[in-house]
Structures are given as structure tokens and as C-alpha cells.
Amino acid sequence: MTPLVEVSGLRVTATNDRGAETDIVRDIGFTVARGEVLALIGESGSGKTTIALSLLGYARRGCRIADGGIRVGGADVRALAPAELARLRGGQVAYVAQSAAAAFNPSQRLMDQVIEGVRMRGLMSRANAEAKARDLFRALALPEPDRIGARFPHQVSGGQLQRLMAAMALMTDPDLVVFDEPTTALDVTTQVEVLRAFREAVRERKTTAIYVSHDLAVVAQVADRIVVLRDGAIQEIGATAQILSGPADPYTQSLLAAHAPKPQPPAAPRDVAVAPLLEVRGLVAGYGATWQGRPAAPVLHDVDLEIRAGSALGVIGESGSGKSTLARVIAGLLPATSGMMRLDGERLAPALASRGREELRRIQIVFQAADTALNPAHSVERILSRPLAFYHGLSRSEQRRRVRRLLDLVRLPASLLDRLPTELSGGQKTRVNLARALAAEPALLLCDEVTASLDTVVGAAILDLLAELRSELGLALMFISHDLKTVRAVCDEVMVLYAGQVMERGTGQAVMQAPQHPYADLLAASVPELRPGWLDSIDETRLAEARSRFSFPGSPDLCAFISRCAARAPGLCDAAPPPIRRFAKGSDIRCHRTEQELVALQSKHGSVSAAILPLKRVVKRAL
């Protein structure tokens, strides 16, 4: 049987400002058999999306499919007339975009967009089309399948949008579906349910698919074969099991290595006698006018934490959990409504304006998006000089010297000094962002998702850097992330935040290896593993937890996780505020359930820590 997709000698070029053409992908050739799922994997800039788009005969602005053959279902895509190409797109070949939030037209109802393809082609009546869409919604496990279509994109969550986009793609029963990083922008818990839904839908329909991703673990769950890309060229093609267990190419090996768990940093001894560097008690904060001591839109509820000098506290949680707000409150950007903060035992004023310059200097915040955190109008040198002048009053020549040292510290060449942020790569921007904070010589660094927008390899390097800095400079870190792996690599203490409430807090070892709070457990269980079949092994209970959405508990004092929790105790959880208890392994846990109850419940679903062992074996073999 001839393969459905045949790509050979593909070359796509981009035209730069000077009018010169450069290759962005070259010599690309692969085939996809009917019913097969092929993954394209690589870092950003590897050309994986460009290749995926070329299957629809499409190249982005400034790019051009220069060479090669693309055949889908016997049709020569490059030879198609515009009208035929329009029929191919969304007809035989469908596309599922990376960010569904951006890829849905904000001004049209979802149903109209989902059925537009079949309606445009006159394939079905409106009623039939809507009925088919509703079936697909059901198949993709969307809530309220009969009504969700009437909503606008901003009214549904990211995970649902991603599934709606898949439904849109499947409407015309395409021969080929191209999934372009469909879960990258999602929270881990959401990613799990979306991945499951996609895989079921693809399997049931025996759809041929191309799955583009940078994440090996995700790919391992869905793909039959994997194409590894780097800098626009293919490094290796192979069956999934072969790639995971016996990668031939050094680059593939390094990708696998990046997945290996980092050695746990030694937990700094808890010395109760020494006052913590930062102590936070009963912190409440939010947005809007304050009324009766509560903000109109509360984000953080009664948060306690301590960070000792030189230690690293990881804060994890899904988007919307209040992680970033916590950093802002500590930095003083958002004054807390109530609660107490102490820096080195000294009371810390909630608002920026009432803090001394020395206090400001000692706490530095590193923002998530290095793109927007660096003033695009300032050169790297200017960005780094300002804190030196501002906090330390250094002379010009002294500043120049120190700026160079700072660049050294974050492993950047001095040649970047005159560059503007737009002329830097993502990793470089993050390093400059970091260097600026270090220029203040802070005691505490608040890192807000600093690696979230970076590729795995680049992100890993930043994490290494942070670890080094910690040991070299004796910095204390508050490391905010949604990614458990990252937190595990950096932090000796971890705090799990859900809807502004601290659910579990303890040493990294305690929280990560044996999460006992139901939410912490869900988080840990949702992190994809390189092991094929991991996705299928996930327990239905957990899947239900992942699938359900957050809803406000009756009172801000009640447990916020109550609506999703599989272990909730009716009559207790919805009636009284949960107590905070110190469990045997050394974590503080906010739950009505006792340690014994939780352990019993978890063993029923299968422990997470058990799953980590085979993974380690795989990685060792890979290296």
C-alpha cells in the first residue's frame, strides 16, 4: 500500500530584510502510512512547524516552499491551483494549531467556526453539521456538548478550546490531521485529559496524523514513529520504542538526557534557631477595592512561608493558582491586604513606596516573560548598568567593569553589550533578565517561571546556572513554576499552591517523591513520562480530577480543591476549613483527611513514585 504522505527533498526558504534567501528546512523526506501517527520533534527553530505547514501547501509570510515533493493521498500539493489547495486544506488535510486560544476567531461563536469547513464546502446541512459536531464534542469528552457550541472562545478554557479545535479538524473526516504542539500551552493536568481525548479520537477513526512537539514524553504516548529535527534537518527517524530505547543520533541522546531527573540538591538543614531570611504569615492579597479586609478579587488566601538564607523554595501550581501574584506581593508590587512579612526579622512594609532602597535591593524579582521584562529600547549594557548605578552608585568605569562580570556570571559573551533585547535569543534574554536582578546583589531572588518559554535544553542550562549561582553567591531563591521537573531540579523545599491556598509544603524530597495531598498527587501524576503506555496507565479517578474545572468553594476558608477532589469527605470538606497537619514524611498538608486515609487512597490508584523507577532505567540506557 502506498503511504498517505510522501515528502521528499523538501526545502523551505525565508527571505530576510536584505532580500537574501536562506534555508529554514532542507532535505526533508519521510512517509506516513495510512493510520499511522508520525511525530516531528525538535527544539524551536528546528523547522518542525514549517514542515507540518508545508503539508497543507502553506508557508508563512516571507517563506517559500522552494524545492521538493509533497504528496498527500496521491495529490501533488505543490502543483495544486489556489482553489484546489483551499479544498485540500480543511478537507483532506486538517490542522490543529498550537494555541487554540489564539487560533479561534474571538468574534464568532464556536459552533460556527467548527462547522464552517463543511458548510463552506456544502457537504452537509447546518443541522446535520451541528449534530456531527456535537457527536465529536462528546467523543472528545467536552463538557455540555450540546451547548458549548453556542459560546464564544473567551468563554471556555484552554483545554476545551484545544479539543474544540480537534473537533473542528475532524469535522470533514480528513485523511490527515496535523497536530502542531497542541498541548504545549496547557497545564499538566489539562494536558493529560486533552492528550487522552486526542488519542482516543485518532484511534477510533484510524486517522493518519502528524504530531509536532518538542516534548519527547508527550510524543512517546501518541506516536508510532518519530522524526527528530534539528536546525532544519532530519537527525534521525525511527519507531518510537527504538528512538526512546536506542537513540542513534547524539542529539536525540541529549534530548533524552534532558529528561533525566537531576540529582536532588541536598536539603539545607532546618535550623529553627536561625531566623529565616523571609517569613510570611497569613498573607491575603488580591485585586480590586478592599472591603472588610478582603480584596474584591482575592487571589491569595492565608499564605504562610519561610525562606532561609541560601535555600530555594519551589512554588508549583496550575495557571491561576496565584504563584505569580505571590511573587508580586513579596516584591511589593501588589501590596498585601493583610498578613505579615519579615525580611531578616525586620518587618517588611507591604507597599513599594514605604520600603527602603536597601530592602528593595535585597529582594529582586525576575519576571516570567523575558520578552516584556526587558525594555526593548535599552541596550543590554544600559539594562545592566542601571541597578549598579541605582543601588550601588558606581562610577561609569566601575559600572562597565561590573557589567562585564555580570555577563560572565550568566555565561554571556561581552559582545552582546550593545545589543537590543529584540536582537537576543530567548535564552539570552532570560540570562540578561537574571543578570539584571543579580546586579543588585540581592539576598533573595524571586524567579517567576523563568524557564517556561524556553526549550528543554536551553531551560536546563538556565537551571544549572541558577544552581551554581546559589552555591556561589549564597542566594536564596523562590522558584515559581508549573513544571514539577524544574522545581525538583532546583529546590530543596516545595510548596504546592492551588487557587491561592497552600495545599502541601515540605522538603522537595517529601513533596515530590510522595505527594500526599490529593492535588499534589494529581499534579505529580500528570507529568508525562517517557515510558510509552504511561498515558493509558493513568487512573480514571485522576482523569476525572484532571477533567473537572475549578469552582469556587462556598467560603474562602474552605478547601478550594473540593470540587475536583476524589478524596473529598462530604459534610466535612464543604463545611469546615481544613486543618494544616505535619505528616510523617515531613510535609505540612492542608486537608481534612488524615495521613492514613490519604496513603490508603493513593495505593488504590497506584503510586506515582513506583512509576519513576523504570523511567530511570530508560534514561540510563539512553545515555
Binding site: 523551505v12 525565508a14 527571505t15 530576510n16 530584510d17 536584505r18 532580500g19 536562506t22 529554514i24 528546512v25 525538535g42 527544539e43 524551536s44 527553530g45 528546528s46 523547522g47 518542525k48 512547524t49 514549517t50 514542515i51 505547514l53 508557508a59 508563512r60 516571507g62 517563506c63 498550537q98 502542531d180 504542539e181 509536532v212 518538542h214 532544519g232 508580586r328 516584591a331 511589593g332 508590587l333 513599594l352 520600603r355 532602597r357 528593595l360 529582586q364 524579582i365 519576571f367 516570567q368 516573560a369 516584556t372 521584562a373 526587558l374 525594555n375 526593548p376 529600547a377 535599552h378 542601571r386 541597578p387 541605582f390 543601588y391 529584540t422 536582537e423 539584571r436 543588585a440
Partner: protein
């Protein structure tokens, strides 16, 4: 997106349109600076050729309705057209940007007050406003410049305010605030540099409007003091010559058109033609 990131060259080639724009603007700027010294006659000198003389070697652009050399009048007028309009535009943008920054950063009643005042000023037709100002303060050059400037402050204010609001929400402003920087520093060093480009684009458009406003003023008989005249006034005072297609009316009109086209090409080219202010 994981691919197709275009490789940005460190130095950009200047597009042809921008080059033409720069050439035109430079040409007029030179005329504005040196025009009066290049002119063969003084602005008011009546040459011996009668009114609306056609182009000739002696009078390359013919003569005007009183029989004055048009070339000389154009050259003398350049300073008033380019100079007055530029000054007024720059003043308008300076004031508008300052107020916009102030309103965007301070918000509250200051914002409300300035926004109301701007709305009020926008809703009064420019020429009606000009009439009142000229009636009250006469038509000296400073009054003209100030009046034209004030007319266009609200527009500049609206754009600056919107821009500043956007920039003020960016993380790097938070970084500066968290560092403990004062409002003045944040406005001057962090926000302003990022507004410069859109503000410049806006300045170009506004410049065109000011040139037109000045010519509209001359329609109502106000404007630059004689014997000098801005180009709009030259068109106006020679409009009678239009029946015989006298160069006296055609040349200044073409001069205005070329000036505005030059400026448009320049700013369009610089803004990459798709980063216009949408507000």
C-alpha cells in the same frame, strides 16, 4: 510557533520609498533653511512682467497676481510653510505626549480632566477655533504657531495616552518600579523611548494637517504676515489665476503635495507600513 523564525539581519536596508521620502524632506528642509538667500528677488518685489506671467527664463515659475516673481515667493514661503508647520507640530506632539504620559501614569481625576478637555477641544472645529484665537491675539507668528499647536494637541494626547497605558502595563515597568525608581525616571527613561516611534509617525501625519490648517487659515484671510506667505496662502491669493492655469497657483499646490507625500513616504517606510497606530 517553533519554526519559521525569520533571521533578522542586524542592519536593515533602507527601502527605496523611504529614500525618496528622505530626499524630498531634506530638499524642502534645505529650501526652508536657505530659500530666502537663494531667491532672486525679495518676497514683495514687483517685477516688470505683469500679473500671472507664464514660466520664462527670467521668471522660472512665472509671476503672481500682483506681478511678483513666483520663484522668489516660493523660496521665501518655504520657511513659513515648513518652519511654522514643523514648529507647531513638534510643539503639539511635545505637549500631547507629556499630557498623555501624565494622564496614563497618574490616572484618576487628572486623567479624567485632561481627557475631557481634549474631547472638548477636538469637538470645536479647527477653523472656528483659529478664528477666535486670531481675533483675540492677532496673527503674529508665535500666535499662529501656538494656535496650530493647540489645535493638534488633543489628537496627539489621545494617541500618547493609549500608548503609554499599554507600555505602562509591561513587565519592564514593573521591574523598574520594584527597583524603587521614581515616576519621573519611569516616564522619561522607560516609557518615553518606546513611544518615540509611534509618536514620530503621528507627528508626520499631523504635520500634513498643520500645513493644511495654515492654508485653510489663509482662506479666511488669516495667516503669515506679508509680504511673506506660506504655500497655502500662495495658492489662495493666486487662485484667480486658475482660469489661465497660471504657474502661480499650480506651483505652490504641487509644492505642498510633494512635501506631504515625502513625509508620508518617510514615516510609512520607517514604520514598516504595518505598525501604524491603531487608535
Amino acid at each position: 510557533m517553533s519554526a519559521a523564525a525569520p533571521i533578522t539581519a542586524p542592519r536593515r536596508r533602507i527601502p527605496a520609498a523611504v529614500q525618496i521620502g528622505i530626499a524630498l524632506v531634506l530638499f524642502w528642509a534645505t529650501l526652508a533653511a536657505f530659500g530666502p538667500y537663494l531667491a532672486p528677488y525679495s518676497a514683495g518685489y514687483v517685477v516688470n512682467a505683469g500679473p500671472f506671467a507664464p514660466m520664462s527664463t527670467a521668471y522660472p515659475l512665472g509671476t503672481d497676481y500682483l506681478g511678483r516673481d513666483m520663484l522668489s515667493r516660493i523660496l521665501h514661503g518655504a520657511r513659513y510653510t515648513v518652519g511654522v508647520a514643523l514648529l507647531a507640530t513638534v510643539l503639539a506632539c511635545l505637549a500631547g505626549t507629556t499630557l498623555g504620559l501624565l494622564a496614563a501614569v497618574r490616572r484618576g481625576w487628572i486623567d479624567a480632566l485632561i481627557s475631557r478637555a481634549a474631547d472638548a477641544l477636538i469637538s470645536i472645529p479647527h477653523l472656528m477655533f483659529a478664528l477666535v484665537v486670531v481675533a483675540a491675539f492677532g496673527t503674529s507668528l508665535p500666535v499662529l504657531v501656538l494656535m496650530a499647536a493647540v489645535s493638534y494637541v488633543p489628537g496627539s494626547f489621545r494617541i500618547s495616552r493609549a500608548l503609554a497605558l499599554d507600555i505602562n502595563a509591561m513587565d519592564f515597568i514593573q521591574v523598574a518600579r520594584a527597583r524603587g525608581e521614581g515616576t519621573a525616571y519611569i516616564l522619561r527613561e522607560e516609557i518615553l523611548p518606546n513611544m518615540l516611534f509611534p509618536v514620530m509617525t503621528d507627528l508626520g501625519l499631523r504635520f500634513v494637517f498643520v500645513v493644511l490648517l495654515l492654508s485653510g487659515l489663509s482662506f479666511l484671510g488669516l495667516g503669515i504676515q506679508p509680504p511673506n506667505a506660506d504655500w497655502g496662502a500662495l495658492v489662495r491669493e493666486n487662485i484667480v489665476g486658475i482660469y489661465e492655469a497660471a504657474p502661480a497657483v499650480v506651483v505652490p499646490a504641487v509644492a505642498i503635495a510633494i512635501l506631504t507625500i515625502g513625509i508620508t513616504l518617510l514615516i510609512d517606510g520607517l514604520s514598516g507600513s504595518n505598525h501604524e497606530i491603531v487608535r
